[in-house]
Structure formats: C-alpha cells, structure tokens
Symmetry: C2
Subunit: 496 residues, 2 copies
C-alpha cells in the first residue's frame, strides 16, 4: 500500500515555482466551471501520519482555490450534539453541496482507525464500522459525489525526522504536540490498522491516493494535480460512472520517480556462494514443508515478472526442494473456453491448494491488472475493481491459513533484449520466444506503470510483494528461495 | 420482509393446469436462446423454511427445463476437501458457466445462517460472513452472473401445518425428518436471523424474492415466472447493468392478491370509547416520554399513507400528548434547492433527533420508493438501491438507540373520493386539496404496488411497518397511539 510513497519523492524549488502558477489557474478554472455547472460536489478526505503535511495541504488548497466555494471542516472530539446521534451524523451534516468542494480533516476514517489503535474497538467491530463507511461511500458515489481520499504517508524514520525538523523550526514548532509524539510511539500499530482499513475501502469507485508526505513541494503538487485531474475527468463525463472512480491512479508520479526504478537490478553472487546457498536453502525449504505445523497450512507462490525474467528457472529451483506429491505448478496463459465462461477469478479458485500443499502460479490473477489492463482486454471498470477483488481473494486464502508469497522478477530492458536474442539463437529455447514477447516489449513503459500500480494497490503486510532484482539469475533465485523460507518460517512460528 | 408471503396465496388447480404449458414452453425457449447466445450464466439460490417446498421446486424446475443445461447442486455437510480451503471455495467450483443455469440448494447463505442459529458464530462474525457474501455477489453480478435468490416462506403456524400434512401423506412422509422438527422448534431464531441476513444482502443488484411456500401451485408458478422474467429482461439488455438487477420485484403477485387488499379498512370505534381511549393513550404516551429511560433514547415516527388518509390529524393527536420542547414535526414535500444539491438522504439526516427527543416525519424518505418511483423522478437504479439505503439508515438510527415506528395509513378509493370532495367544498380545507392529489389518484394502482413493495422490502423486526385501516379516523388514531405506546414501552423495557 505504501511502497511507492517510501522511495523518497521530491520536487526542487525551481520546478515547483514554475509548476504552481499554471496549476493554480487551472484549478480555479475547474472550480468556476463547477460553480457554473454544479453537477456534483467534491469531497476531499485528508488523512495520514502526523507531520506528513495534512494541515499545511489543507491551508494550501484553501489558498489556491477560491475559498468562497470551499469549506474545510476539521473534526475534533465528538460533542454532545453528535454523541446523541448515529456516529455518521456529524459527517452527513457537513457534506459539500453540488458545485462546491468540501475538505474533511479527520473524517470518519479517523474515528474508526484511532478507536482501534487505542484498543477501544475489537477487530470485528473495527470491520463492522469499516463496512459502515463502505456503504456510505458507495451511496455518496451513487449520488454523484466525487470523493478523493488522500493518505499522507511517512515511514517511521521519516516521521521522526519530520517531527524533529518541525520542532526546530520556530515558525512551525507549534504544529508538533505531545499527541504527535504519542502517535509516533504507536506508528506500527497505526500503520498496520490503517493498511487494513484502506485495503477494505480501496474500492474502484473511491480509491485511496497515497502521497509521500516528506517533501512539501512534491506533496503539494501531487495533491493539486490529482484534484485537478479528478474534477476534469468528471466534468468530461456526461453521467456518473460508479463502477470506477474519476480519481487518477497517480501511476506516473509528478517527479517521474517510479518504484521499479529504485531497484538495483545488477546485483550478483559468485558461483561458489550460489552453489552452497542453493543447497542450504533448498534443504531448509524442504524441512519447512515437512514441519508438522505445515500440515495445517498451505503455501501459495505467485510468480510475475518481465518476459524472460527467469520465472521458470526460479520455480524449478523451488520444486527441486519439494516432494512431488506436495506441489502443483499452475501455468497461467490466456483463459480456456471453459474458463472464459466463468467469472474471471473462477479459474484461480480452482487451484487453491489444500492443507499441507503448495501451489505455484507461473503468472497469476495479476494478469487482470497487467496484460488485460495494458492490452485493453479488460474494461477500465473491470480492471479497476480487480484490485479490490484480488485483495479480497488473497485475504480469504490467508484467513484460511494459507501463506501467500508474491514475486515480481524485474530485469532491465537491455537484459531482456539480450535474453530474447539468445532465445532466438538457441535451438531448444526458441519455443520460449514469440511475436507476442516482442510486442509486449514495445509497451515496456505501460507495463512498468501497471506494475507499480499493482504493487501499491495489492501489497499488504499479510500478503506483501517481493520485488526481485533479476538481471542475475543466481542472485534472483537465492533471494526468492530465502524469501519463501523466511515467510514460511515466520508464519509457522506465528501460528497464523 | 415476509409480510406479503404471509397473507395466504394460492392458485387453483384449473388455473395452474392452464398456466403451466405456456410457461414451460416459454422457459424452454428462453433457455435455448441462452444456450445459443451464452452471454451470461443464471444462478438460482433456493432457501427458506423446511417444508416450504424447496426440494419440490428444484425437482419441478429440473422437469420444466432442459436438464442438460441445468445443474442442481445440493450442498450438504462440508467434506475434507472443502474444509481445507476458504469457505467460499466449494461454491466457486460449482458456479454455472455462461449459457447454463445452476441451482444451489443450501448455498453459502445456509452455512452462515445455521452456524448463527446453532450459536456457533457470534453476531459480529455473522455480519463479517454476510459481508463476505455481499462482496462475492457483487463480483459475480459485475461479471455478468444473473443471480436469483428465492426464500420460500412459511409462518410458524404454516410450517407446523405443512410438516404435519407431509407426514400424513405416505408419498411425501420421507421428506419430513427429525431435523425438520428440530428446525421447527428454532423457527423464531431462524426467522430473526434470516431476516437480518436478508436485509443486509437485499441489494439492488441481487434482491431476495420471497415466495409464499404454503401452496404448491402458487409457489411453482411464482418461481417459474420470476425465472422467465429475469432471463428475458437480461436477454433484452445489451450489457450488464449492475446498479440494478434483472430480477422482477414480484410486486404484482400471480394470484393478484396484494398485501394492502387484506386490510379491513372499515373498522370503527364508537365515539364514547374513542374519547376515553384517546385520553388514556395520550396520558400513557406522555408518561412514557417522561420515563427517565427515555432520556437515553429517541423516537422517530414516520407517517406515510394515501392522500387524505388523515396523517395530519393523527399526528396532532400525538403531539397533544407531548411536551412542545420535546418534539419536532418534519413535513416532507419536494426537496428544496439546498436539499437537491445534496445526496438524497441528506435532508433526512438533518432531522435525526437527539436523546430524549421525538421527530415526527409527515411523509419521509419513503417518498423515494413511492412518488419518486411512480412518477419517474428517480431512475430505476436509484429507487431500487434506495430500499437498501433506507434499511441501512434506519438500522443506524436503531443501533444508536432510536425507536423507529412507521405507519402506512390506508383508505379505500371511495373514501378518498369523498374526502377530496369534502375538502373542495369546505372553505378552510381547500388548501389541502390540489391538482396533484387528483393526478396521484389516477395512479392508484401503481401506488398500491409501490407500497406493497416498500413494506415487503423495508419492514424488519427492529423497524416494522404498521398498516393502519384508516377509513374511520377515530379507529386509525387509536391504533396509531396504541402502537406508539406499545413500541416505546417494549423497547424501554428491553433496554435496546
């Protein structure tokens, strides 16, 4: 969820100075058009970690927009009037009307999140209230409200740095309160519960927008552009299209820095080390699958990656360590006729492993948000809701005791070219290279964006993605084996 | 939920004999067209009380339809293969493919309902699993599955009668098992939990169809016609329209017997009795609102009814008993400009009363599924989802401690005519009659259907509708006052 927001985004002062005036003008234009043609209201929810610039952003938007058409509401502690009524009441009464922009600071999400973080609500009540929110937002979306939900993010280390920096700055020291430091102590708890809450409310009609909060320039431009794009998208539509939001997915960050670009693809290991480690890890994996505790669990391995990134080879290094009765490789290509006659997830449900078993997916349900998205095989509404459906599916696996480990094998474009050529030249590898591979290669950048979106929207603490630097096959295989072993061991130890 | 299914429907043998052959032929035609153009699968879920004809109906459909294109699956106890996997797995693998019809006997709803009835799941877990179902059905609907959910209903008395009758019939005695009688003992528990489950899953894209199960002819025709209509509706569409289902609402029952027609509208009380009872009930109501326990509750009264049914007079008899600081009358007419600029429920959320207060709605949010439906002010998708949204809204009120009492004041068409004429003739009453009233009167039958739908879809044990026979104003007022007092007293006693 927070992957792309933790790679360190920033915009330099000069770029920011140049970008702001046209952005402000465009925002004002959009706002006036909205006033002239008040077809829908805009509801902006501001959430995230203390110190991540939530208050500053609200002030900024108030300054950039025509304040007569904007209403910012900060929800503090609940008062008597609200306490006597259903908990949603105080949010209902502050909803912006058509043609206007409403900003909620500390909305219903804060109520739900912090009563969970403070231990006032049980997990089940937490979920029940999250479902209250889901129903509310679905109704609002159906009624035409354009909802933008921002999560301003900081890593744990980043939050500490920001709070200290603010304290040192006399103009901003007031922003840092005792409560902020208390929340910092609760960082892991907040993060874990926020992620759960966001996963369940990250719908196609109202997705979360996670913004790196560490750099003020980046943060401000990102929010401003997202808001502008959402309003413009909706204005270009002649009806509300509930199956998908007008919120931009923000795949292409404004500083052009992509999660995948942060990988150092050329990591290597020497041959000797590879041999010993491979043996050791395979032995460890074998032992773990024979562990009596594994008899009550199952293992689901998902392999995705660039064409020719070495998925097959990595999978073989895993199966070499497994009892053949215990695992099953599921190669995923275009759906069969039987599969096309079913809801799209059906063909993956078929292969859910039983207890003590391993299912290895060579490509997977993620094709929905990769190839089907990029090639247009799935409609925008369909692949957008797929993130939610995938998270739900994997969550059901995990609840049932499965250990799910997902890999994205990344190679550079050059490395891919060399491997393609090698495949064409090598007789017994020629079946591995097709026209389609060359065509996909032409869409390298589109796929990259889709992959970053996918990781951000489907990586959760229970089912995280592991990105594998795969220019060197040996390095990649060892990383994959070690990740599987560690995940297995940790989850068997934890017992859940 | 079960109102219309408990008024006793039946179809005589002769009518049935005549209706079946064309229905079967039409079903076969629809089925072959579906096979020729396999655009979607049909999933039929069969639920309801033991003895209500679920098994017979499945057999019947199997006989009526081409069985090569139908698959009936009875889900019994869970086996090892399924136990090792997420609980939804065994339903996923039995989904019908496009062009085919699948019938589930004892689907995921049974798992969830009976583990609750047997006390194996807590209320919160019950809700969590209901939400699992909601997500599943939303996904299936998005993927084009046409879902028909039948609930075969029997009253408690009706179930006893049916089980005894089956036992006496040597050909059917085998149908009645020990377990059926055990379930009969649990009738109230099953009904209460089924209603809760059905309320939460009674969505616009997949509504429940409640069928009176006491008469085999009625039941069979009702199911057959609903199935036919749903398939034909979908085939007539060129795309899946998820905002609303193709399931017919069944407002006009096949035996033409409507819930509203079962009322005896001409009930009277003598003048003397009226005077004494009015005084007594007003005194009782006053006392109840002064009860210290009421300080932690609130009261929401909803008045709907035919034009000129006497809502205003009844409301006055209530307010006469209340401290003026305690209540507020909310007259609901066409929305103001401010209200139209908001999500549709907003204008009612505004008037949610605080603790110790009474809000009296003279017309209400039900206008959405009455006048807005009948006059076409709301789109089909919008009013269909309104049932769900209304139930959700009222549920939030109840969870917060409100006592919600809803009245439908029914008068006959003749009585209305007399009252309209009287209003036109009486100077000080002339403001009460408009052109619109005369126009509404022309749509008497349409309104009647909308009212029956409304009551069936929004009457729950926590927030039931009370139908008031209102041809005699005195009788109506006493019934209303007594109902309010009883509801108030019962809920104050119960403490929740």
């Amino acid at each position: 969820m927070f992957e792309s927001a933790e790679i360190g985004h920033s915009i330099d002062k000069e770029t920011y100075r140049k970008a702001v005036p046209p952005l402000r003008e465009a925002l004002l234009d959009a706002q006036y058009e909205l006033k002239q043609k008040p077809d829908f209201p805009v509801l902006i929810l501001i959430h995230g970690f203390d110190g991540a610039g939530r208050g500053e952003t609200m002030n900024l938007l108030n300054a950039w927009l025509d304040p007569r058409l904007v209403r910012a509401v900060a929800f503090g502690d609940i008062n008597d009037e609200a306490r006597e009524r259903p908990w949603m009441w105080r949010y209902w009464r502050e909803l912006p009307q058509k043609g206007r922009i409403g900003m909620f600071f500390g909305s219903y999400y804060s109520d739900v999140l912090f009563s969970r973080v403070y231990g006032e609500t049980e997990r089940n009540d937490f979920d029940a209230r999250i479902h209250d929110i889901l129903r509310l937002e679905r109704m609002l979306a159906n009624d035409g409200v354009l909802i933008l939900k921002f999560w301003f993010h900081l890593s744990r280390e980043g939050q500490k740095k920001r709070l200290k920096a603010l304290e040192k700055d006399s103009a901003n020291a007031w922003r840092v309160t005792e409560k902020d430091w208390q929340h910092y102590e609760l960082y892991d708890k907040i993060r874990k519960n926020a992620e759960h809450m966001m996963r369940l409310t990250n719908t196609a009609f109202s997705p979360w927008i996670v913004v790196d909060g560490s750099d003020a320039h980046y943060r401000s431009l990102a929010v401003g552009k997202a808001l502008l794009e959402a309003i413009r998208n909706r204005q270009a539509r002649d009806h509300v299209f509930v199956a998908r939001s007008d919120t931009p997915l923000l795949a292409r960050p404004i500083d052009e820095k992509l999660l995948l670009d942060t990988l150092t693809l050329d990591q290597t290991v020497d041959k000797e080390h590879y041999r010993t480690e491979l043996d050791r890890l395979q032995g460890r994996l074998n032992g773990l699958t024979r562990d009596p505790r594994f008899a009550q669990r199952s293992l689901v391995l998902v392999f995705e990656g660039n064409d020719a990134a070495g998925k097959g080879g990595a999978i073989r290094r895993i199966t070499q360590a497994l009892d053949v009765r215990r695992y099953r490789i599921v190669p995923v290509a275009a759906p069969t006729e039987e599969e096309r006659a079913q809801p799209w997830l059906w063909r993956f449900w078929r292969h859910v492993p039983g207890k003590g078993k391993v299912a290895i997916f060579d490509r997977s349900w993620y094709g929905r948000v990769l190839v089907e998205r990029v090639e247009g095989f799935a409609s925008e509404g369909d692949w957008m809701r797929a993130y939610y459906e995938i998270n739900d599916f994997e969550h059901q696996l995990v609840e049932n005791g499965a250990i799910v480990v997902k890999f994205w094998l990344a190679i550079s474009k050059d490395e891919q070219l060399q491997r393609f050529k090698l495949r064409e030249e090598t007789g017994f590898k020629r079946f591995k290279i097709t026209e389609e591979d060359w065509r996909n290669r032409e869409k390298w950048e589109d796929y990259k964006l889709a992959v970053c979106d996918m990781i951000d929207r489907t990586s959760t603490s229970a089912v995280p993605w592991t990105m594998v630097e795969a220019n060197n096959k040996h390095y990649a295989r060892l990383k994959i084996l070690a990740t599987v072993c560690n995940a297995l061991e940790a989850r068997l130890e934890a017992g859940a």
